[in-house]
Amino acid sequence: MSNIEKVFNKGKAFIPFITAGDPSMETTINLVIEMANAGADIIELGIPFSDPVAEGPVIEEAHIRALSRGITTDIIFDGIEEIRKTCDVPIVIMTYANPIFTYGTKKFMKRCQEVGVAGVIVPDIPFEEREELLPFCRDYNVTMISMIAPTSKERIRMIAKEAEGFIYCVSSLGVTGVRKSISNEVEEMISLVKEEKDIPCAIGFGLSTPEQAAQMAKISDGIIVGSAIVQMIAEHGDDCISHIFNYIKEMKKMLIN
């Protein structure tokens, strides 16, 4: 069992997403450590991409802020190495196909293993294109996380069958970003997964409030929160850490109750 799967044995997981290097790599390093202290079970770290087509404006702007500061994939790997000196929270990289492919997929996955990255989530690599990454992920023991969406329908079984780590369940149509309400469709998606394979399912896209966290935790194994946290970084810059620490404590409480 991978480090990722072990997390879900301890209870419902809280998985925050931040864009690495926003507003600076130093803050990212401290933020990851403090998010883990606040109870985050897995950290999703975004490698910024110039054209993040699966993201809404909040995360897109975070990517632009990081890139305009000169953040690169190498700086991020070095930062993760730094985090690993004091903190062993599982880290999953979320980025797009091109930053991985252009860096060299083999070199990328090798670096992931060296610095202790547990997995990758790549929204523009669907099931049909997984061979682009999978052989390299296997060689370097990096888990490739699969995504399912409300439009996946009969594809859910096919995807679930070969999924590893956990399944990222996209709660609603569209791009990332805070939503007022989440449809119940995702419950049905998760039951389809579980019929096919006993694998943890985490819900992402649109979640921000403790009420949503409690509601979604009931029907899943964990929740992923991105835009709400990235928005706090946008507002508070390098001073965001205490705000996010308190937010995660609050959210995590809802998952335990």
Partner: protein, 394 residues
């Protein structure tokens, strides 16, 4: 070669949310592409609405002036809406109807594809929304009004470089938001499978006609066929029926902007490297970390950091050549063709005319060149005036 690839290029690199829509599109296309009712309906529209076949015109004055190969112009500029774009749009909108979609969305650079989509949507009674980079809405203000006149809603895209690339990003995002009733009418031979194949097939009417017309006029195939290349829809349409005719040389003309040795160009094949973006593996202008480069061309329609996957494949197997043409050369050619032949070409197509001016004099008089004149230049008159420092009010 996998069904979705051209060699190693192409593929379906999109979020899971879009996968079933792409599969539905592929199945619908397979079902109808040889269906007699569908083919008849499309041909009827192409002939009676768009005005096909477009003329193959012998540019006698240009030929004499350059003193080399005989030059023919494939007059896609005479197509309804003023460019080749309508060929693909009519096909895709008919497919959208068959899929039960009531709404179409599209990206546009110069506005030609947006105008074509808005036109077809008006004809078919479909709702239409167009995404256009804010920078391009300024460069092509007249086309924005034209789309609105046709009943479309135009969104000015303010993210990134505010040009074609960002318009594609935003249209893809909109598609993931509202996929059930909406078809994305992708305008170039780019994007995830099956788009590059569908767009190429609908545009290949250009090369099918050229082949027939040149055989009638000259009794033989041309020596050289050329077209401008951004994403590459008019070029792949112009090349496609000649790919198997190895004696026909194929040249695509890329936008070199201020020059390929500056950072202001959009010469993807000349300067780019292989990457994965906008749903496809292909050549892209990008940095060493895979960040897509902000590209530039005077021509909004060629101002794109990528190229269709089939072009990347044709380049790799040495079947087609791709050459850079600068802003200055294109503007010269724009004026040249206007004065010499009385035909004002689109600034995009002017890139192909510019390269023809270089290569024709080096070829013997018994050789034949066919240039795809992909669009008319009325839309560019104000921008060219500005480029030359002349004040005109649209």
């Amino acid at each position: 070669m996998s069904k979705s690839r051209f060699g190693d290029y192409g593929g379906q690199f999109v979020p899971e949310t879009l996968m079933n829509a792409l599969i539905e599109l592929e199945e619908t296309y397979k079902r109808y592409k040889n269906d007699p009712d569908f083919v008849n309906e499309l041909n009827d529209l192409l002939n009676n609405y768009a005005g096909r076949p477009s003329r193959l015109y012998y540019a006698e004055k240009m030929t004499k002036d350059l003193g080399g190969a005989k030059i023919y112009l494939k007059r896609e500029d005479l197509n309804h809406t003023g460019s080749h774009k309508l060929n693909n749009v009519l096909g895709q909108v008919l497919l959208a109807k068959r899929m039960g979609k009531s709404r179409v969305i599209a990206e546009t650079g110069a506005g030609q594809h947006g105008v074509a989509t808005a036109t077809a949507a008006a004809l078919m009674g479909m709702e239409c929304e167009i995404f256009m980079g804010k920078e391009d809405t300024k460069r092509q203000a007249l086309n924005v009004f034209r789309m609105e006149l046709l009943g479309a809603k135009v969104h000015a895209v303010t993210s990134g470089t505010q040009t074609l690339k960002d318009a594609v990003n935003e249209t893809m995002r909109e598609w993931t938001r509202r996929i059930t009733d909406t078809h994305y009418v992708l305008g170039s031979a780019v994007g995830p499978h099956p788009f590059p194949t569908i767009v190429r097939d609908f545009q290949s009417v250009i090369s099918k006609e050229v082949k027939k017309q040149i055989l009638e006029k000259e009794g033989r195939l041309p020596d050289l066929v050329m077209a401008c290349v951004g994403g590459g829809s008019n070029a792949i349409g112009m090349f496609y029926d000649f790919i198997e005719d190895k004696e026909v040389r194929l040249i695509g003309c890329e936008a070199a902007g201020h020059g390929v040795d500056t950072d202001k160009h959009a010469a993807t094949i000349t300067k780019g490297t292989v990457g994965i973006f906008h749903g496809m593996k292909s050549y892209f202008c990008q940095d060493e970390y895979g960040q897509i480069a902000p590209v530039y061309s005077i021509s909004a329609g060629l101002d794109y950091p990528g190229i269709g996957p089939e072009h990347s494949y044709l380049k790799d197997i040495n079947r087609a050549e791709y050459v850079p043409v600068t802003d200055d050369e294109a503007v010269d050619a724009f004026e040249y063709l206007s004065k010499v032949e009385g035909i004002i070409p689109a600034i995009e197509s002017s890139h192909a005319v510019a390269y023809a001016r270089k290569i024709a004099p080096t070829m013997d008089k018994d050789k034949i060149i066919v240039i795809c004149l992909s669009g008319r230049g009325d839309k560019d008159v104000a921008a060219i005036a500005r480029y030359k420092g002349v004040k005109v009010y649209e």
